[in-house]
Amino acid sequence: MSWIPPLLVAVPLLAAAVVVATDHVLPRRVEDLVAIAAAATTCALGIVLMLRSERGDVIHWFGGWSPRGGVAIGIDFVADPLAAALAALVGGLVLVALVYSWAYLEEAARLFDTLMLVCCGAMCGFALSGDLFNMFVWLELMGVAAYALTGFEVKDIGPLQGAVNFAIVNGIGGYFVVIGIALAYARTGALNLAQIGQALTQGGSGGLVIVAMTLVVCGFLCKAAVVPFHLWLADAYAVAPSPVCAVFAGVMTDIGLLGVARVYWTVFDGAFAADRAAVGDVLLSLGVATALLGGAMAFLQRHVKRMLAYSVICHVGIMLAGIGLLTSKGLAGAADVLLAHGLLAAGLFLTTGIVIALFRSVDELHLHGRARGRPLLAALWFGAALGLAGPPYVGLYLGHSLIDDAASATGRAWLPPLLWIAGALASASLLRAGARMFLGLGAHRDRLLAPEMKERPPARGTRLSVLAPVTALVVVLGLVVSVVPGLPQRTEAAAERFRDRAAYASFVLHGSPAAHGPQAAFALEPASLESILYGIGATMLALALAGWGLYRPELGGSRLLRPPARALKALHSGVIGDYVMWLTVGAALVGGIWAVTLR
């Protein structure tokens, strides 16, 4: 089965080249079919690989250059269940986006298909790669395709500004990663994750390792849009076409977190074995700050896609907090949040796409009551929005409950309520927007919300016979994640292996297969009462906040809320200089804290 990993990259990339090469020969619809077939193949191979890797990691040395005497001379792909599952999710969401845009983007030419396929291949490569520089290559490839997709609507200034900010912030993040790679390479003479990790375990920590970790982690956090590296995200996701956003929000953002988790557990964990808590606490704090800020900003939006973008930031924060706990349960929780959130966020963006196609607007207040009499759309919207809050056994519940367990196991009982509240805030904003659009409830004006965008979205295809089923499929899958039998045990087992640096290193460098315990049983884990209560509480809170948001202008209290709201909005200025300033502040802060706490 070791032939599968390279195909996850080669199939979509080759299909992209074929689409360009045959552009003037094949009819457009045939090219679309080539693209769709490639994405479907990627998804299927990803699922096969995931199932296979549960019995042991699958490794592929490119060019047959396997390590000699523990020195890696080539590049490797290592498929573990988490990475393979992410690759499968990438393939699946790209497939959904391509099918959706078949009906949605009438003039979508080969350029769109090509860039989506390139993005798909790059994300799979990033997820599977076992080589630090190779990860950078896929990060850049993902970026280059994504900047252009963001600027797809070149007729408007918004998409262009979004693409510029996206490109510059992620570009600088990429340079940070390269400098970090150079540092690690100078110390260890290796680029292979396992080999660097092995060498650092012996070499100890010190300034070089701390700075290298800061730069690589901050570089990946730019992609993951974690505070304060997050500012570009709303500009970009608010303007990219909806199917593109579905892929970006569903997987591309989160893939930066996979990068952080991967380099931490394969490379840096050994060097900082004595000070794990100091590393984890920084990630945890960034996660909590991101979740709360994302939730609050989502609540202040009236542009629905911008609101969704901030809700993505909020959930990225929740996942990062899970990872920052540095336990298998926490990581497994983050992975399950990723899966459910990826599907639901994609579903929400796709639903927004249909609303845009039908009503030519993305403004919550402007759409007030105009989408009434669309029960299916309303059901999809409210279902997905509620699923994000995580009522018991629905949507994000499973991931949240695993993170709860991990938090209480590490003595951080304060963490779960914060994360549930953040999620409820994001969910409440979406419920509020849904209530205005689909039910016509609430006030017609709200001066607390961000100012109206002047632009009118471009005309889109409205063939609901294609758009609606695809969207419904994604939303339903996202909602049932929490009740898949055996999923929590299997993600936890996968997370346990993901964190085992020594086993990973000896498997990669010396080919010794790690021993794995018996396959986890298929059973529905009895959830802790706390999580059920949190889930119910978060749902009630989301509904209550949504209701308050609807009628807030009539209830008063604006004077208290306006100054903080204005301050928050001022931070998100859209000026690239400010964003890079915050990026620098963030990197200096993270590095400075680690410089003091890690010794």
Binding site: W3, P6, A10, L13, L14, A17, V20, A21, T22, D23, H24, W61, F62, G63, G64, R68, V71, A72, I73, I75, L105, E107, A108, A109, L111, T114, L115, V118, G121, F133, N134, E140, L141, V144, A145, Y147, A148, G151, V154, K155, L183, A186, R187, G189, A190, L191, G207, V211, A212, A570, L571, V575, G577, T584, V585, A587, A588, G591, G592, A595
Partner: protein, 245 residues
Amino acid sequence: MSRRIRVAAFVPALVVLFALLLWGFAGMPDFGHYRGPYGFVLERIATPERHVTNVVNATTYDYRGFDTMGEEFILFAAVTGVVLLLRGSSGSRRRADDDVRSDSIRLGGAVAPALVILVGLWLVAFGFVTPGGGFQGGVAVAAGALMLFVAVGYRAWSTLGDERLLDPIEGLGAGGYAIVGLAALVSGVPFLTNLFGPGVVGTVRSGGSAALLNWAAAIEVAAANVILTTEFVEQYIAPMVRRRG
């Protein structure tokens, strides 16, 4: 946020970041004392095993050939992106019909492009022997094509730069790299494994299928650069043409 506040917040952060970088760099081996092992292992094995004298290219197209595949696709995606951005999402080119160019340049510029293209091809061909390779040679070939544009004028150029010709070439360059990799996989060995033996040391035929990858990269780079240049130059020329017409 005003510019002054931005700079005031930025400069201290930059100073901290700069200090962090200096601190981290202080932990590296002294300049000129690279300790290996990666590079030294490759230097030891590349020539005996691969019959390649330029170890940089052996690294680029063989040991780390998979990175280069990603790199070719970065170029490929960037070109697709630039086309998308400069032509609009429909992707079809608005063709300008007039000739804008100075006649005086035409005579002088007949020989130079041919020379530059030859140099480019030489750089590609001997990439595994001496400095050079697919990227450097590819850009040089594209530069020769650009000089041809100056020499022959816009109309002849737009025939050469026709998308119906260039798109398949570009697709072939990037796709070719993936196909060479897949060919190995189909014959039951890992992706991008050399299938043709190492070739003869110090000649054009050294490097085995890595040499094919080198040529695929050269084709991709040359086509990509010609398309990029055409797109950008057209931004400049199209309105001028319209004004004349």
